[in-house]
Symmetry: C2
Subunit: 388 residues, 2 copies
Amino acid sequence: MSFINLDRISFNPLLPEVKQVMIDAINSDMHNPSSQHKAGEQAAEKLAGARQQVADLVNAGNPKEIVFTSGGTESVNHAVKGAALANREKGGHIVTTNIEHNAVLRSLKRLSAQGFKVTSLSVDGSGRIDPKAVEDAITDNTILVSVMHSNNETGTIQPIEEIGAVTRRKKVLFHCDAVDSVGVVPMDVDRLNVDLLSFASNPFSGPTGVGGLYIRRGTRIFPLLEGGVQENNKRGGTENLIGILGMAKAAELAMQHMDERGQQTQALKDYLVKKLPEYIDEYIINTDLDHSLPNLLNISLKYIEGESVMLMLDEDDLAVSTKSACATGSLRASHVLLSLGLSHADAQGTLVVSWGSDHTRQDIDKFLDSLAGVVKTLRSMSPLYQKA
Amino acid sequence: MSFINLDRISFNPLLPEVKQVMIDAINSDMHNPSSQHKAGEQAAEKLAGARQQVADLVNAGNPKEIVFTSGGTESVNHAVKGAALANREKGGHIVTTNIEHNAVLRSLKRLSAQGFKVTSLSVDGSGRIDPKAVEDAITDNTILVSVMHSNNETGTIQPIEEIGAVTRRKKVLFHCDAVDSVGVVPMDVDRLNVDLLSFASNPFSGPTGVGGLYIRRGTRIFPLLEGGVQENNKRGGTENLIGILGMAKAAELAMQHMDERGQQTQALKDYLVKKLPEYIDEYIINTDLDHSLPNLLNISLKYIEGESVMLMLDEDDLAVSTKSACATGSLRASHVLLSLGLSHADAQGTLVVSWGSDHTRQDIDKFLDSLAGVVKTLRSMSPLYQKA
């Protein structure tokens, strides 16, 4: 039986074209793009081409608005801490939501310890923020609003365009953590009215360890990695050119195939949602099906533990996850699911299932089949289930 | 005529074995090491093996003391800012030198703006710091000393072991920026008495965009990239496993071949120093020949501009640099050379020549031959030279 990776939110295999670009880059011994001799200039040209590709993916008007980073976490830390510290004299208030990724939450916690005030807005039962709540939370001291595009556990997409209209009107900087959305759904920094947009390469099948930060021209922000003059003086350090070229190729392919991939993954999602009740009962879908990524579904299975389900599915060569891979090792229930109003018990029974356009209905069938068996076994041993 | 890269301080080509490891990693679709299913565990095992290899390279007692980063700049920013902010309540004073890399200097400038006090020590004419000066600079408020191991422009090595003895006695944290030394000369964090050691992979022919930070167990330090629980909760973000495995292979090879590489590169340095007067006159060697890396020489050519020399050598398919690649685009004279007591004019006439153990005497001969012609041409047009 072959391995089926339905944990794509943790890792997407590189596309063959991306692999080839990276292998060619490895074999070509490209020099340091900052060096001023011919070898350096050749590398700099490659880097410039990659920057244009990635700028196109988020519809940045100027490729200089893209800073290459080591991934989504660096992008988010750079955006949140860099914008907060650079605009401190305008006021120390930041507005966010209580379902953000830990990269945002922990960055804000660090800033709080330094005297910044943070207002964390609650989501409604469907997992979404009301743009009006953002508007109401903004005060004269607000310097930054940070709201994620799609949630990494539920896939639910926020009304970013509406929030962007608010922040633009209120003249407050707007950072959007779009790590799980860029390259998966269409992205346009102008339409969304964002000033800062964080993203990573792996969600659209580029390499891990590479990401991008869109910084709208004129945005006041400090670097996070200070040193050399690389990345238009916004991020020091010799570039990971092999990774960046892989990311750029993945960006090019994502743009070419976004609609087709979106339709294919959405069809699998529709199929999974429709088929689920034929296989299991007593579950909750935590994803807002009207506003969410096409490639992810978050399901809470009542009376049992998600971790046990995950491990038993693993025995059947099916990979899924129970929460963000970034939160591995933590025994606490997901802060995202608790924010949705789930009980601790239901939150502990959660599976995050995610797929790509290369998956098939047969893969979903296989998953459902295994899941039904696992759920039955675990519930037969569950005192909670017996009681209910 | 084939290209001769004597700008190894800016970029070292990957070794064939390193390329192969990275290509194998690309082709193997390794999952996210934080995932708890089998696919994740396999990736986590690979990561653990790499961490041990890199720990061995700096003689870290425990592989958990190694944090993988996106390169030297991130390591330095993490060490300096993370240690300063985490120990602020003990006092806000930091001791450093005026020849550090911009990653250290700019991090400290940022901290100064936040209220930290920085004492920057001067080097002597040979480019070295007196450990006694460090001792004298430490006050009751000193929380951190940051001194680089070797300078990236001159290759001069500091008396780190002696400084480490001082900081240990004074119970002050000691960070050493060893980016251009680790993997090139033997490194032992215990012998040096350092608490934090920053390094990168490319100086020992691993990929760019990957580095390491040694954090001695028990050292109080904040993360720079906050988010997930990766890297023992010291650095969030999905790991760049392809790059890390390349770095680990390069570390393994560096340990195996360090003596041999050291002898080969030192022999080329001795040869270059000996031959130089046969080809040019009126130059200054800015490298302390008794205490320096074996693979780099910094030469100031009087009356002419290093940048013109570099560009003309480039026409002869010879790559050298004039200063740190990280400082490209800046017209200012190197702060390192001015600290050595050089005039602005002499500092502007500087070449940084660097090589690997794969270079030959013929490469050095070719360089000297081209250099002699270039220097003659430029001096014939130099008003300064005519005047002198």
